[in-house]
Structure formats: C-alpha cells, structure tokens
Symmetry: C2
Subunit: 343 residues, 2 copies
C-alpha cells in the first residue's frame, strides 16, 4: 500500500517490457515515472481513480500482428481508467466531471474528448463504470438479452462464471427464467456463485471428470453456452449443446497466453445438433448502452443484480501484479486497481 | 467388370471387418454372399441398380459410440441404393417402381416401405436420385438458399468444391449471383470447376500457401464459407471470414479418418468478425424436397445446373474400392457403383 500523497504530481505509467511467456507477470512490465502532463487547447486532463484490469490485454501483447491494438515491447500498456476531470479546455467537460478514458495504464490522461465517456455516479458508483456498468456488464447484458435469448426453463452454461462478464451474464440469464450452470476454478467461487449470485449449479472444473459432471447437471443438454474461456472447457461443453443451441463467443481467455491457440475439436457437434457458434462485439450496441444501463440500474436497485468487484488498493505500479492475479483466477467479478486519487 | 448375369439370385453384401486406420480400403471390409431374400406380408423386394458411396461412412465405422448409426465390425455396412421393386406385397409399391432404399450395401433390400422413397425418373435419371437429386443435392440446395443466403456480389468459398455436395453448392451460389471460389485437390479438378461448373476461381489447396492464395482470390473476404472438409482448410479459410459472415458446416471429411479430431484453431475470428459457424441437417427440410427438386429440375433443363457423377461399373464387391477412391479424391461429383441390374 502506498501513501496517497507520495506520488502527487508524478505520472506513473506501465510499459510492456517484453512479450510474455505464459501468464504475464510483473517481470514483463516496466513502471516509469513521468512528469504530470500539461493540456493544450481543446484538451482535458483526467486523474485516474480506478484502472480496469482486462483479460484481453494478454491477447494484444502476443508476438502477433493478427490482433487489433497490438501492444509491443516499449509501448505504454493499453487500458481503461475511471477518474475525474481536473483541468479542462474543452467546453463539454468541467472540472469535477467523472469520466471513463482509454489512455493506457497511468495516473493521468490527456484527451481531446474523443475517448471519454461521462459517468453518472448517481446511477452507479464510479468503479462500476469500469465493470458491471461498463463494457463488461454491457457485454453480458446484450450477449444474453439480444444474442443468446434464453427462454424460461432453458439451460444456460456460463464458462468463466465468476469473472467480470460471466458473473453478470449468469445473473441476467437467471432473470430471463433460465436454469443457470456456472463453471469456475475453485470451491469457494462455486459457493459464491450459488449462494450470492443465484446460480442454480456451480461446478469447479478442476475437480473430477468435467464432461460427466456437466452431463449430470444438464440432463436436457445446454441450450446456451456463454463462453469466454475456450480450450478444453468449451470443448467438453460442446458435446452437450442442445438441438438448435447457441454458443456465444465472448472471449477465449484460456488461449490468450497459449503458445499455439487451439480451437474446439468437438465443433462437429454443431452440425449434428443444428447449433450455431457465433461471435459478438459489444461496440455494435453502442447506441443502446443507455437503455441497458437504465434496466440494469433497476435490477440493481431491486437486488436482482449484483455487480461484483475485486478491488486491489495500490498505485499504478501494482497493475502488473493485479493482471497476474486475474489470470490466476483470484478475482470474484471485475478486477480493478484503486489508485490513491480514488481513495 | 463382372458379367451382369453371373450373380443372379445371389445377394452380395459388404460387412465391416475391422475398425479402419486411416483411409478405409478393401482390407477393412468383407464381402459375403447370401441367398436372395424372400419377402413377407406387407413387404417389398428391391433390386439395387446403384449404390451410393458416402464420405460419412468413414465417421460411423470409427471406434466410438459418439456418432449415430455406428457400424461395428461384423455389421452390414450402412448405405443407400437406388433400384427397382421386383416383388411387392405392399399396396403402395408396384413391381417396376423406381425407389431409394436404405438397407445397406447389398444387391437386394427387403423393406416394409418405411425407408423407401419413390423416384420419378422422368424428372431426373435414377442415378441422380442418389446424388444431385438426392440427399447430396438437396443438402447443397437448402444449405445455400436457406442457411447461407448469399447476396449478389458476395463472395462464397466452397471447401470440397468438386465433391457430391460442393459441386452443386457452388453452382447454386453462382445462380444466386455470388462470386464463387472453390477449393479442391488437383489442377484437373480446378479446371473442371471453372470451365464446366462456372466457378469464378478454383484453387488446388495442395499447391503453394493456401492462406495467401485465398486472400488474393478474396480481396473482400469471405461472406460465406461452405465447409464439408474441416481441418487445415477450414482453419485457413476462417481467417478470411467477412464481417457477419456465415460458416456452414456440412461435414468434416478431413476429420473422419483422423485418429484424433481437431477443430478450427482460428475460431477466434468468429468473435472479431461477428460471424457465425452453424450446423445444418438436411432432414429438417424433408417436407420441402419436392419444391427443391422442381426448382433444380428447371435449372437442369436450362443448363444452369449440372449434376456430376463418378460412376464405377462393377458389383457390390467393388464398393470398398470405390469408397477408398472417394477418400483419395478421384471423383468429380457423386461417387456411385453401378451394379449389373442397372446396366
């Protein structure tokens, strides 16, 4: 833990040092200190209160140009922050406004406004705008309500059920009347899924024969597989896809750190079962975010939806460790670093 | 070649001898001779004129109970025949009627009528009812017109373009106004695809860098991938799927003989491109076969659609060799064995 005032006036930044092998950890990143930036005409200065820790970062630090937004050794690490405007030469932004910014992993962002999104903290706390009320939650919302559309009584499997997106996807599927099964990596997380989030069944995929346990939990097969994991877990699930089922691909975290990515060997079941596996990108729903947030705010108020956060109190230099913990599965819900300015 | 009268009164049958390794060949099957069967009340005796040779047989002879209709060592090999009713105790069938039957690989079938389908040979020759006018052609028809729905000007890739299903799928996609690219296994077959079937581009996947050649042929990416091959070919194609593209799975012939099946490692592109990969089973369209055949008959009459057949003249004992040739890629269109009764 750091003294909140220790780094005032200094902009700590996290750079990629090398292409990681396996799970990325502190050795793969370098923390640098820069002077606090100055803004020009039309620009805004944002002080970060929270940094979002996103699994997809592991994909874009790979030694491959196949993926968008690649971060190379020597580059500032990409990432989102939630913070407050502390200086403004932009008519749309006032000092004190709460905003999301996409200016990488650092204390301060200089923006012309293009990447900023205002956060109404009366609707949800600032941290939630990086998680359940931000891209993670909106992804879960539109994935379930628009892409998967589970019907009451259908069975929905959430792979990566305790993560930032999965923890919300499962709850929304339950609100749609589905029977929800979650896969996660520990008995403790299983208990949290069933006792706190209302999952019908939770399975620790590290114990026993995954296929057999899944088959037992889903006697009527799986109408929806919400997958943000890929690998063996997706593969075993696929054998249980129901007739005309949907496999929604929301990420492939098991593959991001793999030397060679492997696909679902059991894809042949899609044919037999007339099922479909489909991609989905949240930005296609950008003009409906407000509608989704209004509905989610009502569910939160009624207690039907819980936005879980795993907050690491620290400073920018703690980001690499938090990222490693994310891949070790230590989080319940969205992983965030809370900076001194946010405490 | 055999003397058409040599085996009269004898029912030759093909049994599975052992679970094949790699491509199945004559050593994996056993030919037995049985007396000509006799029919009981309500039954029909069919003499086969043609045997269909289907790639999917390789899947169901695997040492696995995962797939439907498994054929085990010692079982009569499953398969379809087109032939003529030669005795009938069934009011719906008269001697002389042309029918399809699903009674395995043999000269004669005894049926209670449940598996029979009448063939109107004024609409298409009997052999076509096992191929372009049968399940293969209907699969291509509904896959393209109902599942993929390519729009004029879109790009369609057919993997396995010279096969029974692919050769028709490509032509129907062209009739829908799409630009059609075919992948096949020889220069000779490439020439046939472009010169006879009207494919816009044909690529021999055995030559050069497949991804680069595909990327060059599809500068606007692939709106539809019609796949009945799987494996590397599907994997390389996937990297070129267009935004909101469709990958239609109509089979995975490259995987049927593989010791361990492997899936599409590049499935992650479905996510990025908001694309979908979906299964399809022709029997779901059973109540629309007549409509499809009527439309296909018009295309055949106008010269817009060609039904290609690769006919091996022989007897039932030649089935295993024909099956091996199918996996060696020797066929243009549907592989059939024409029996003495059909000559």
């Amino acid at each position: 833990m750091t003294d909140p005032s220790a780094n005032e006036g200094v902009n700590q930044q996290v750079y990629l040092k090398q292409v990681p092998e396996g799970i990325a950890g502190p050795d793969d990143f370098e923390v640098r200190s820069a002077p606090m930036p100055e803004i020009g005409p039309g620009e805004v200065l944002v002080a970060a209160h929270y940094l979002g820790v996103d699994a997809a970062l592991r994909l874009i630090v790979r030694d491959s140009d196949e993926f968008l937004f690649r971060v190379r050794p020597g580059d500032l690490v990409r990432g989102s922050m939630a913070g407050q405007v502390i200086e403004s030469n932009h008519s749309d932004y006032q000092v004190g406004d709460y905003v999301l910014a996409s200016q990488g992993v650092q204390n301060y962002a200089v923006s012309n406004g293009d990447d900023l999104e205002k956060c109404d903290v009366s609707q949800a706390p600032l941290s939630a705008w990086l998680g359940g009320f931000g891209v993670s939650g909106l992804t879960a919302y539109f994935a379930i309500t628009e892409e998967c559309k589970p019907q009451p009584g259908q069975t929905v499997l959430v792979n990566g059920a305790a993560g930032a997106v999965g923890s919300i996807a499962g709850q929304i599927a339950r609100l749609a009347g589905a029977r929800v099964i979650g896969l996660t990596s520990s008995t403790e997380k299983c208990r949290w899924l069933t006792e706190t989030l209302g999952y019908d069944v939770a399975i620790n995929y590290k114990e026993g024969n995954l296929y057999e346990r899944l088959a037992e939990a889903a006697p009527d097969r799986l109408d929806v597989i919400f997958d943000n994991v890929g690998g063996t877990i997706l593969d075993e699930s696929l054998k249980l896809i129901a007739m005309r089922g949907v496999v929604l691909l929301c990420g492939s975290t098991s593959q991001y750190a793999a030397e060679t990515m492997t696909g679902p060997n059991n894809y042949i079941w899609l044919g037999t079962m007339r099922a479909r596996m489909q991609g989905f990108v949240i930005f296609d729903y950008a003009d409906r975010y407000a509608e989704a947030r209004a509905r989610m705010a009502r569910w939160i108020a009624s207690g039907d939806l819980k936005l879980a956060e795993h907050v690491v109190d620290g400073d920018v230099a703690d980001f690499p460790r938090a990222f490693q913990q994310l891949y070790e599965g230590q989080n319940l819900g969205k992983m965030l670093v809370r900076l001194p300015a946010g405490r």
